[in-house]
């Protein structure tokens, strides 16, 4: 197989980064990205893009840690380069505060982020309702810049990108040799995965450029994440809700909760409300599958179900998916040479 044709379905952070990894590990591949949405209309565009991992209940911790470490290392190098501002990657320091003692004193990612330590008494005084806290420095991927930067890198490798709604992976058979399913929430319909469910999120993106530190409540529901031009205030987790409409009561509630952590947000301007559906799963599905229909085979690599933690592990799962694509290619080459005998 001279130039395997790979289709990546999905153009959020997972689709684009997976496509990029494939061009890096398999330069002879011809990669095409197909998606019904591109930035700024993907789920990724709603997310703040903070590198603070979400823990997947059914994925082994060492695997999650490996994914996070690879992602952090990759972005750390970009943040330190001349491309940082274009890619939208920047360091941000701040605090995670808890009203009651955290389940784990040291989360699995504490040695990957920078300078992780407990908050001092003096720092905790800023949060009278909270009794414990962690201070650290991590990275943030601002969207749309990061997605646009990935698109630019992809175009430079000759990757084509098309707006196209794929209703069935079999549609792509014949056109492409290998399909990579990075459809996020769309995978529920696309491959009928009933383990995948939406967790509806709502955020406010506001103009508050004096906010330089992130603040996150350890319960994960209230957070303040300063981006390049806007600060993301969140949030909410509504399991099973498919609604993409902003809810006014939720907006008020998020604003109040964030102002109680950071009173100066009362002066925030230009509030933009956004909604996204976290494509949630007990474990991220990074897996090879060979679909079969009437004797015809279709190799598929899945990379979806990242829920609340897409940005934190995107590069790690993209690397793994690209590796699985390599296995698919070997398998195809193996069977094609067998066919020649």
């Amino acid at each position: 197989m001279a130039s395997p044709k790979v289709a990546v379905v999905g153009a959020g952070v997972i689709g684009l980064s997976t496509a990029l990894c494939i061009t890096e590990t398999c330069p002879s591949c011809s990669v095409t990205v197909l998606s019904d949405q591109f930035s700024p209309n993907t789920t990724s565009d709603v997310a703040a893009g903070m590198l603070i991992p979400h823990t997947y209940p059914d994925t082994p911790i060492h695997r999650q840690k490996q994914w996070f470490k690879e992602t952090f290392t990759y972005l750390f190098a970009i943040s330190n380069s001349a491309e940082a501002s274009e890619a939208g990657i920047h360091l941000v320091s701040g605090w995670q505060v808890f009203k009651s003692p955290p389940k784990e004193e040291l989360p699995f990612w504490s040695d990957i982020v920078l300078g992780f330590r407990p908050m001092s008494e003096a720092e905790l005084q800023k949060f009278p309702q909270h009794r414990f806290g962690q201070a650290f420095t991590t990275l943030k991927c601002d969207c749309p810049p990061y997605l646009l930067w990935l698109e630019k890198r992809l175009k430079a490798t000759g990757t084509q990108m098309y707006t196209r709604k794929v209703a069935d992976l079999w549609e792509l058979h014949g056109e492409y040799d290998i399909i990579v399913n990075c459809a996020g929430m769309g995978a529920q319909q696309l491959v009928g995965d009933k383990q995948l469910f939406p967790v509806r999120g709502q955020v406010l993106k506001v103009h508050a450029p004096w906010v330089k530190l992130f603040i996150r409540d350890g319960d994960g529901l209230t957070y303040i994440y300063p981006g390049i031009h806007r600060v993301t205030l969140g949030g909410i987790r509504e399991k099973g809700s498919w609604s993409l409409s902003p809810d006014a009561g939720t907006t008020r509630d998020i604003f109040d909760r964030c102002c109680s952590l950071e009173p100066s947000l009362q002066g925030a301007q230009d509030i933009e409300v956004k909604v996204g559906l976290r494509p949630s799963r007990q474990c991220v599905r990074v897996q090879r599958e060979v679909l079969s229909r009437g004797g015809v085979k279709l190799p598929v690599v899945h990379n979806y179900g990242h829920g609340a933690g897409g940005f934190s592990v995107h590069r790690g799962t993209a690397n793994e998916a690209a590796h699985l694509v390599g296995e698919c290619i070997s398998a195809l080459q193996g069977s094609s040479s067998r066919a020649k005998l």
């Binding site: 501002s85 330590r117 201070a135 330089k212």
Partner: protein, 348 residues
């Protein structure tokens, strides 16, 4: 009781506010007047980035360390007030970088979360092998000075756009006490060879992705002669010039290149930052801050002067502690004039 404040930088305005807050209720006849030839945004304070951070060494002036602490604690207390945004006050974290291990600074327990940098953090800054991380405060002059001016105006303090040539000029007009907050030009009012300019130059850029201050140190070349990057609420300040004895307020192309090249080496992404403004100013440098009373007598003219100048590159850092100290000196003047000690009741 007429009090004239010379100078409308951070020192003059904050001293005026502190005195008015403490004494206007106790001294009904108190009248405050601010005299300056430059007002915000044209003062030295307006050029400062606004980062609260004292010098590395307290130069033996423990009093200054106390004033720095008073200022930090006061500002921290204001952080959650509705005024914080208008004041230009916010928290900021960042890095101090060195090429060799150094002693912890006098202010390590004043700031929040002071710690040494980890090896991985130092990877961000090739060429630097040691450093600190801490969370401090920003108090932006271009917001703080107008805020102080508004508070003073609300309190009935009068402003005069005027260059005062001598203390006597004011005493002859009936001023009782002069607060000398004239910064760099205090020497025009009274010669002071210890007061020298510490010329600085800065480049203001648009780099909103920078969320930390980064101050590098070259122990051989002295304070602020090594690149620094300080992100404000709108612009990021690039600097790293400290020229002792240089009175020029003209921007120098050589200094521009030095700041730009060294800051871009420190943070490569700055190469893409848009330059918005360039500025030079003179830090009013002195071996120690001059904060003391002086009785001036000339012929039959007499008056009290409270000097409050010589804050070098740490004016914002120390301003409130000094304002309180100046207010205490004012209180002692009032006691001597029996303005405070007079019990309530009819005057004879």
């Amino acid at each position: 009781m007429r009090v004239a404040i010379i100078g409308a930088g951070v020192i003059g305005l904050s001293s005026a506010l502190c005195i008015h807050e403490q004494f206007h209720g106790l001294v009904p006849s108190l009248e405050l007047e601010v005299y300056a030839d430059h007002f915000t945004p044209h003062t030295t304070s307006d050029g400062a980035a606004g980062l609260w951070q004292p010098y590395l060494s307290d130069r033996g002036n423990l009093q200054e360390t106390l004033w720095n602490k008073e200022t930090f604690d006061y500002l921290l207390g204001q952080l959650h007030s509705p005024a914080a945004k208008e004041m230009g006050l916010f928290l900021i974290s960042g890095y101090n970088l060195f090429t060799e291990p150094v002693q912890d600074p006098s202010w390590k327990n004043i700031v929040l979360g002071f710690r040494n940098l980890t090896p991985k953090e130092l990877e961000l800054f090739p060429g630097y092998s040691y450093g600190w991380f801490n969370t401090a405060l920003m108090l932006e002059g271009r917001s703080y000075l107008p805020w102080l001016t508004n508070r003073l105006t609300q309190r009935g303090v009068k402003f005069f756009h005027k260059k005062v040539e001598s203390f006597q000029e004011l005493f002859s007009q009936g001023v009782d006490v002069v607060l000398n907050c004239s910064g760099m030009r205090a020497g025009h009012l009274q010669p002071d060879p210890e007061l020298q300019p510490g010329r600085g130059q800065i480049i203001k850029v648009l780099a909103p992705w920078v969320k930390h201050f980064i101050i590098t140190h070259d122990l051989k070349s002295g304070i602020y002669n090594s690149p620094y990057v300080i992100p404000g609420s709108e612009f990021t300040v690039l600097g790293g010039i400290y020229q002792h004895g240089n009175w020029s307020e003209e921007n120098s192309a050589k200094d521009h290149k030095s700041i730009w090249d060294s800051c871009c080496r420190l943070l490569p992404a700055l190469q893409k930052a848009k330059i918005v403004e360039e500025w030079s100013g003179l830090r009013p440098a002195r071996p120690s801050v001059r904060l003391e009373r002086e009785s001036i007598r000339l012929g039959n003219l007499q008056g009290e002067v409270i000097h409050n100048y010589g804050h070098g590159g740490f004016g914002i850092t120390i301003h409130w502690g000094c304002a309180m100290a100046a207010a205490r000196l004012f209180g002692s003047i009032l006691q001597e004039k029996k303005q405070l000690a007079t019990p309530p009741g009819p005057r004879l």
